[in-house]
């Protein structure tokens, strides 16, 4: 739409489920990516996954089948981000970790580089505190998987600058994604509602009042949702759900966000959902 001439070079922090899939979206749209993680074996897995996800998206007609694919570089060094035009942070949903990393990255990139957090629930202005230039930080909440779901939540913090918002518009145009602008605050729109809904759905299962299948069936059949809350939770990752609920609980004081015992137990058992093969449902071998 705007700024078609802008050439983006994207840095992605964190090669987990979201960081990997955001890298897929970017290179599939011709944007070169530097993917950073602390763990070399995680990066190796991410390279394989990006290649598979790219082909899946192309197969489904959701990313172009022909035309330039952006280069993917993986590294364990933040210093390799010095030349990027935009950075998307997608590390684990732990406020201290995000704060530390955002401080480090804003010291490495050139002033004027857009810094995006793909946080699930931490307010943008809280994280802006850790950066060298708070006006350069914006929240983009990508859905999983970002190369299949077009719409994203765009969160402008009170200190976010106009220039950063223009850069976000340009980046989302390069990705062919549709941004919906919303205000700042714990969980923004989606997760303020969704995480609570997942927590309550899990509590219903915990109380033995309904099976996961029954909970999801009523949301799908009665309300017309594409997937029910517990299928969605398995897709998001129950580890992320619990982390996000804690972020919400601490910041709102609302006990409805306190992760229920069943969710906590599943995470403790290593049953994170699709990414480990089991959550509320059995998923067979881990996919994507």
């Amino acid at each position: 739409m705007t700024d078609d001439q802008v050439t983006h070079r994207l840095g992605v922090l964190g090669a987990g489920v979201m960081g990997t899939a955001i890298a897929t979206l970017a290179i599939g749209r011709g944007v070169p990516v530097v993917l950073v993680d602390v763990d070399e074996s995680t990066l190796e897995r991410a390279r394989t996954e990006v290649a598979q996800q790219l082909r899946l998206a192309q197969l489904m007609g959701r990313l172009p089948r022909t035309g330039a694919v952006g280069e993917l570089v993986t590294t364990t060094s933040l210093g390799d981000l010095a030349e990027v035009t935009d950075v998307i942070e997608a590390v684990t949903e732990l406020p201290e970790l995000k704060a530390k990393l955002l401080a480090e990255v804003s010291a490495v990139v050139r002033p004027g580089t857009l810094i995006v957090s793909n946080t699930s629930a931490i307010p943008v202005d809280e994280m802006a505190e850790s950066t060298a230039r708070p006006e350069e930080l914006v929240g983009i909440h990508f859905m999983n998987p970002p190369y299949l779901i077009r719409t994203v939540e765009v969160i402008r913090g009170p200190r976010t600058g106009d220039r950063a918002m223009e850069q976000v518009t340009s980046l989302l145009a390069a990705f062919d994604r549709d941004g919906v602008a919303v205000g700042d605050g714990p969980g923004f729109v989606i997760n303020r509602i969704l995480q609570r809904m997942i927590n309550e759905a899990a509590r219903i299962v915990e109380e033995g009042k309904a099976t996961p299948e029954a909970v999801d069936a009523v949301f799908q059949g009665c309300l017309g949702h594409c997937t029910g809350p517990l299928s969605t939770a398995d897709l998001i990752g129950l580890d992320n759900v619990v982390d996000s609920l804690r972020v919400l609980h601490e910041r709102t004081g609302d006990n409805g966000y306190e992760p229920c015992d069943l969710l906590v137990a599943k995470v403790r058992a290593g049953d994170f959902g699709r990414k480990t093969g089991r959550g509320f449902y059995e998923h067979g071998e881990a996919l994507s």
């Binding site: 598979q52 082909r55 899946l56 197969l59 007609g61 089948r65 996919l287």
Partner: protein, 89 residues
């Protein structure tokens, strides 16, 4: 399960038999070569990706560019035709 692997004399019939066996193993039911796999709802696009990888590995072909479209994987017949076309190239 035994599969014929990369024999230079692979015929359309071999391709079809290998595919039908692969489908039966993964979906736990038998298929006719002209049935739309996706329309039935029994096969997801994620499974289509497994079909892509199975065909590439089993018949030593690379499926990319404009060939990477669901239409080529909709039926066993369509996949057999794709393998023959790419094997001839």
């Amino acid at each position: 399960m035994t599969l014929s692997i990369n024999q230079p004399t692979t015929t359309a019939d071999d391709v079809e038999q290998d595919l039908l066996r692969f489908l039966k193993q993964h979906t736990k039911k038998s298929w006719e070569p002209d049935v739309d796999l996706f329309a039935s709802g029994a096969v997801s696009s994620l499974f289509a990706m497994q079909l892509v990888m199975f065909l590439e590995k089993n018949f030593d072909i690379a499926i990319g560019g404009d060939n990477l479209t669901l239409a080529n994987f909709r039926t066993v017949n369509a996949m057999t035709a794709l393998v023959r076309r790419l094997s001839d190239e």
